[in-house]
Symmetry: D2
Subunit: 351 residues, 4 copies
Amino acid sequence: MSAPSLADGGTDFRSDNTGSAAPEILAAIAAANIGTAAGYGEDQWSKQLHQRFSALFETEVRVFPTATGTAANALALAAASPPWGAIYCSRDAHIDSSEANAPSFFSGGAKLVAIDSRDGRILPSALDAALGAAGRGQASKNQPAVLSVTQATELGTVYPPDEVQALAAIARRHDLKVHMDGARLANAMARLGGTPAEVTWKAGVDVLSFGMTKNGGLMCDAIVAFDAGIAERLAFLVRRAGQVWSKMRFAAAQLLAYVEDDLWIRNALKANAAAARISAGVAAVPGVRLRAPVEANEVFLELAPERIDALAAAGIRFFRRTPNLIRLVCRYDTAAADIDALMTALAKSSR
Amino acid sequence: MSAPSLADGGTDFRSDNTGSAAPEILAAIAAANIGTAAGYGEDQWSKQLHQRFSALFETEVRVFPTATGTAANALALAAASPPWGAIYCSRDAHIDSSEANAPSFFSGGAKLVAIDSRDGRILPSALDAALGAAGRGQASKNQPAVLSVTQATELGTVYPPDEVQALAAIARRHDLKVHMDGARLANAMARLGGTPAEVTWKAGVDVLSFGMTKNGGLMCDAIVAFDAGIAERLAFLVRRAGQVWSKMRFAAAQLLAYVEDDLWIRNALKANAAAARISAGVAAVPGVRLRAPVEANEVFLELAPERIDALAAAGIRFFRRTPNLIRLVCRYDTAAADIDALMTALAKSSR
Amino acid sequence: MSAPSLADGGTDFRSDNTGSAAPEILAAIAAANIGTAAGYGEDQWSKQLHQRFSALFETEVRVFPTATGTAANALALAAASPPWGAIYCSRDAHIDSSEANAPSFFSGGAKLVAIDSRDGRILPSALDAALGAAGRGQASKNQPAVLSVTQATELGTVYPPDEVQALAAIARRHDLKVHMDGARLANAMARLGGTPAEVTWKAGVDVLSFGMTKNGGLMCDAIVAFDAGIAERLAFLVRRAGQVWSKMRFAAAQLLAYVEDDLWIRNALKANAAAARISAGVAAVPGVRLRAPVEANEVFLELAPERIDALAAAGIRFFRRTPNLIRLVCRYDTAAADIDALMTALAKSSR
Amino acid sequence: MSAPSLADGGTDFRSDNTGSAAPEILAAIAAANIGTAAGYGEDQWSKQLHQRFSALFETEVRVFPTATGTAANALALAAASPPWGAIYCSRDAHIDSSEANAPSFFSGGAKLVAIDSRDGRILPSALDAALGAAGRGQASKNQPAVLSVTQATELGTVYPPDEVQALAAIARRHDLKVHMDGARLANAMARLGGTPAEVTWKAGVDVLSFGMTKNGGLMCDAIVAFDAGIAERLAFLVRRAGQVWSKMRFAAAQLLAYVEDDLWIRNALKANAAAARISAGVAAVPGVRLRAPVEANEVFLELAPERIDALAAAGIRFFRRTPNLIRLVCRYDTAAADIDALMTALAKSSR
């Protein structure tokens, strides 16, 4: 078996999950692979994890490593919503479009309600209107339970903390919990500056899906619970969901390495910078339009279908959302040469 | 952070999940960490995985990597049972005692039915009697749907394939599917010899929880589906369960390395040999009795409570099941010195 | 306790469930209240029910009495959809707006997908487009499983059988089962003429929620299964849902009486005629507009908010859907005087 | 259709659900069938129901009518247990043996734990031991959540209130809620005397399945919630379970009539007296043994298989539990002649 031959060819902008695990992450796993450790999170790495993340977030938190972002989202939502709850999210939300209704399954019947958004960000007025018309107290209606915001959004934009705060304030007024899907939280942080606390619980977030996989992790994301009740329920929910590794030290070691010396932010800065290069470059390419401002590591381009075909023919890999809309995702390990190749192909495609 | 200091001290016989990831597994991850790869199992490692396991099992199989054994068991059972199904397992079964009713949750209401066993192995007569009295066709009763056998068993014994076959024949007669919890399948294989096919589908198994974590893996187990209908349902069940990694290549690479050059069997032989040493040694220690024959890597010892206390005081780590019953688990990386320390402590405990 | 004093006052157009149980239904209960009968549907009335409905529908059917229409809908859908299924319905569908996501709960996670409609009837082109874009085979998406049509619709219109057939044909092409929410099936039948077979399974329906409550029943609706697989699953689903009465004879006796001598159609004709009188009358009232053609027993009127207030002040009872939209529902027992009162109040409201 | 011909023949001791609806219940339905009433429990009968039952139980209660006892039990338990909860009941409990795991389904995965009993009554020591060993706080175990006691028990015995109190005290100590399956509560009350309050909440019960069907009802039981949190959750659970009739007045009217002038107790006294006659009579029949003391309306008899066959041949209808154990159930409408016939057949069977 020759591993390199198994890698996909081409210049890859398909997703941030097509990339590598960061060397620091692999090193941390190797370093933890010494001696024995109690199972199911009773090890010392896991204990350190709670302390380290509590320090990072400047408040007492509980961290629940999970295998995937889908698990993190669905379990966080299940811990925040009763079975008869309604979960409000943007029309573009990954939890609504791409997670096979896992939130309904894990919660025992909660319902996702899509709210109008602009450039991926939920419109406060639309949220307020939807909550006002939701039928609070009517048993024939799912009861408003959770607001879920995605940071960075599914369209590659970033909520300023005060926008999250404004949405959270509406949510509170209607007695909802607030969930943040932070699959790309690092990319948002890299854009925003500020502290993790400011971007999350200080902006009103009760429970966070903390992404690592897309930004250099290896098979591990996490839920960070700021709310004690949610944390208490999660302790039972994650275990019976088969999301608690017996060799949990290797999850904890990854998460510790991920925030050590700001690795997460440094990686995200690289990915964002790569996306910014594309964004800047396309400004000079006629016939190509950004679908939304590039504020993190994703670029959505509108261009003619035949030009999209030309890009693909030139070996650029990406996902096509509609006949004339493509998504390009930059990773912490996207090479400068890849962007050069992309820009060349884009320029050529117009001829 | 000094990793060694985080490891637990003592001579560790608590579980096979307290040990290390095998170097071959880590090497395979590193080797796969090159270039980019499509997400969610569309990569080349995952494709190779299906081929390699189909060859290994001498039949077309589908492999679904999962984060944990609990997930593997619960999802395999959910794919094999309707929501109103009954799942028959031994009184000692891990799925009944230690997985927080995950099978009921994932299946939407299936019921676990505990069957009498001897040394961890289900008694065929008890199974037959239970199925005969189950109320097939009565809507007020959960309908017999799945038989689950654990190989090696929760008491450290191993089913000869013809015993599995006999149980499976009873199951078939009552129109059940057959699941094997193979959290320690390698240890059973190491004991039995024979081929993976003989121990599983040729003995009547429809779906297998294929353990890797306990035997040198890193955060990954798998479901192997022999039955096409079960495989089809699993494809949807695992995704919405948040058990499909976007960076799936790292799971596939581990599983490929695990069966390469019989690593799984070689590791299991080491663990079994360590357990056999203990078993042989205790024969000479008065006042200590084996609860069940040692046929894999687990040793269950009955001895006086004060001697158990003495063992613990001597720095031996293990789990106490009852006041006078302890479980000692050997790993592929259990050191000879650890067994020496144990035997010394055991000998001393009697004075 | 003086029962009449407990009845609500006013001229009642709130719903068809505010009305009385038909005398024929009560008589049938009394007639069945003689001797003893086996429980849980093993009685002779229940056996006769299957025969009678099979004759009525000109095909072998299985009938599952249920307590409510919500139960009928949710259980029928749960029997027709896997937990990862998607259920397509109109934007106006009661199952989506008013049943607290019961279909998701009973199915274990299926998702409702709202399709554009005109006057309550699903647009075939919109259904086709949605199914084409649904992501069949993608595990990240709920898989198209069921089409649900409401007959008569939630806007008081009726599908001609060939429109149901056209929708069902699209559904079949995409491998879906077809459910009909027949909470007001009798009203549709009364409008359409034709046979029950033509309106249901001959038009492509696999499973039917057969309403009785709204049209003179007493605490009983039913599911009629045309598809054998759906029927088989329902047998288990309804029991554990607590929808199988031990004294089932009283449900069966009601359903038998309901179709005896076309009682259901006769009652529906009365309700429809009442609605038609309103429809005809409002044509002469300036400033009042029908929201949709009146084809069954519901009338949706658009008129100025202050006129709506005036109606309410005049003792007319109804539900207000928006500031200038009201729903008026006629029952089999709506009195001519009630319609007179309504028309008078409407006429007066314009001054 | 000639209704009488549909009734089963024979002398019927099969169940209390084979009997008739009480004339008072049917009269109440007829009396409520006047005028119109708001749907889904917003009617005046339903309002009166809460007041009447609050007076009856001498405390503020909420009453949720349900279609069946299975629904009452499963929903009450789902409202009292988290999805990861464990529900403790007697080995004989109907919720464990005969309700298709509805509690697991409705709760989203709770587990039933069978506790040793004597004559149908849970042994306090066994309950205490089970709770002590339950693994409170261990996420791998379902967490102790509810104790369910059946009153009268499944073996026809009755708990004195102080025994319920003793069990409830153990439950409280372990932080459990207490559910009473009162499918035959009236029969227990008739035996015990005392007030409804003393038998339920004063003995520690938080939520009650209040049976009516078996004692003269027509298609209606109820949940009575003493605990405010349980009541709040039930309001949403019952609706999406399809257990809230739109014509709720007819359920409320039945329940009101059922407790009016102690109808429930008067009916139960008749059924109990019939069972007592059998109990007294068999004392004189050699070779027939009571399996448990007859304290309510059920009689369990042990006798030789061929005598059981003889009884059946003599036209006595009953259920056979094992080859030499039968259950005879008396109803409020069991005729004296039926008991005469039974005693004659029993006497003859010995020859």
